[in-house]
């Protein structure tokens, strides 16, 4: 081991970042993993449902158990994990500027940089959307599953995608009532298994429906919903009033791309994966060859795909730093790609697979 060597710096200790750091460390490469939160794991610890996929994708295992496994492995490997550490700047060349515990500022030279910064939930603007009681579905999920408190008793869920139906079900598991799930599109968006569980519990689903406004003096007391036409315009006379104290928004996520912009990574627009995001090649390298992007920052998908993307980048970075021979890199990369491919099959994976292929094609053109 070379003492003066610059480590690979991984930003974000969620599923993607943890897997990238694990692959680097397993290969013997120096690695530092930074995360702004007090605990690692990203959003895994609020995922209390079982994951899909095959055995090797940890199917049937609950998100928080996968989180525990990854943490145990990173602990066993002795990875340098720096928590409460916010990365606030990147200098090309390659230097990371970090603030620890909101008080101590320092810079660290990086051999390679792996950005696993995740995504941010989208907001939806309507009259009353700033009222206390309106929150993202992920916020409610964090409150119930991580902090064990209920943000409200009667919930309206806006959005029927996976996040919407999974959180609706988990809110019921936590003891809340779900008054309805509404969806602007004419069809439901989530996996059938999750959707059916909510429907079987008696929750009404309304398609082609939007929220018109939230009402209440100091917090949400009711929601007004209405049917919409093919042009997403509310149809007069279809308004319905729901007595709810909480409105959860599950209307998609946007990649958290700020650090990749500072690293001057070329950005592309892929609406089906969340909007603007750094372009990447088949090794998850951005247009800046020293910077990798993995997980939701490279297109919003799921924890299972994020983990495999993290592994791809970790393997390639370890090889690029001289810690893995060509053949091992090729074998490990092919194995990982095979698993990724399998995760992007089926009717739900197809769209994401096609979008990812488009990203790779764009990189080749660039």
């Amino acid at each position: 081991m070379r003492n003066d060597e610059k480590p690979a710096i991984v930003v974000g200790a969620g599923p993607a970042g943890l897997c990238a750091a694990i692959e680097l460390k397993k290969a013997g490469a120096p690695v530092v993993l930074m995360d702004e939160n007090a605990k690692p794991g990203g959003q895994l610890f609020k995922q209390i449902h079982k994951f899909f996929g095959s055995q090797e994708h940890k199917a049937g295992i609950r998100g928080f158990d996968i989180g525990k496994e990854l943490l145990a492995e990173s602990l066993r490997l002795g990875i340098d994990v720096r928590l409460k550490t916010e990365v606030v700047g990147i200098e090309l060349g390659l230097k990371v500027w970090a603030v620890e515990d909101r008080t101590k500022s320092y810079t660290l030279d990086a051999g390679k940089l792996i950005l696993a910064t995740g995504a941010t939930e989208n907001a939806l603007s309507f009259p009353g959307w700033t009222l206390p009681g309106v929150m993202t579905a992920g916020c409610a999920q964090t409150l119930i599953n991580v902090h064990r408190v209920l943000p409200g008793k009667r919930i309206l869920m806006v959005g029927s995608g996976n996040v919407g139906v999974i959180v609706a079900y988990q809110l019921m598991q936590a003891g809340a009532q779900v008054a309805a799930v509404i969806e602007a599109l004419p069809r439901l968006g989530g996996y059938g298994v999750h959707t059916a569980k909510v429907r079987r519990a008696g929750v009404p689903f309304y398609c082609s429906t939007t929220i018109i406004r939230a009402e209440g003096a100091e917090s949400v007391e009711r929601a007004v919903i209405a049917s919409i036409d093919a042009k997403f315009q509310p149809i007069p006379g279809t308004e319905q009033i729901l007595d709810v104290d909480t409105i959860c928004l599950a209307v998609g996520l946007t990649p958290s791309i700020e650090l990749s912009c500072l690293a001057e990574c070329k950005q592309i627009y892929i609406p089906e994966l969340g909007g603007n995001m750094p372009a990447h090649d088949e090794y998850m390298r951005s247009s800046n060859q020293s910077v990798y992007v993995v997980g939701d920052i490279a297109g919003v998908e799921e924890a299972s795909t994020a983990m495999e993307e993290g592994r791809l980048a970790g393997i390639h970075a370890a090889w690029a730093m001289g810690y893995m021979d060509d053949q091992t890199m090729k074998i490990k990369t092919d194995e990982t790609r095979g698993r990724l491919q399998a995760l992007r099959q089926g009717i739900f994976g197809q769209k994401r697979f096609a979008a990812k292929e488009r990203i790779l094609a764009m990189r080749k053109d660039a």
Partner: protein
């Protein structure tokens, strides 16, 4: 699931997660009133458990609570130990902590300005 069976805001029992783990209590002060919190939890969780619905008012007097819950949006900021603009969703409670509803962008207490805030 009938309306009269709605549980307390603290989730004591859970089918997947099990019973609420035992955790040491700490006391924080919300608007001067003592509130029991669980050690290690963020301020936001303690306030939600206590039924607090308004965390701050904007300068136009519009109420706010929390929105993203993971430190991204800054909707939940309050004045903590005299320091305004503290994200309560990612700031852990501490014994004796003073948490106040913020008005507008808030103001620094004399002690906080002098660097004596905890």
């Amino acid at each position: 699931m009938s309306a009269d069976k709605i549980p307390d805001s603290r989730i004591a029992r859970h089918a997947v997660l099990g019973d609420l783990p035992v955790q040491k209590d700490v006391t924080i002060y919300f608007e001067g009133k003592p509130l029991k919190a669980r050690e290690g939890e963020p301020i936001m969780a303690a306030l939600v458990a206590a039924g607090v619905t308004v965390f701050r008012y904007t300068k136009k007097g519009s109420p706010r609570r929390m929105f993203c819950g993971i430190g991204r949006c800054t909707d939940c900021v309050m004045t903590v130990d005299g320091v305004p603009g503290v994200r309560t969703c990612v700031t852990e409670v501490r014994q004796g902590m003073r948490v106040e509803r913020q008005q507008g962008v808030g103001s620094w207490s004399v002690q906080a300005e002098a660097g004596h805030a905890q």
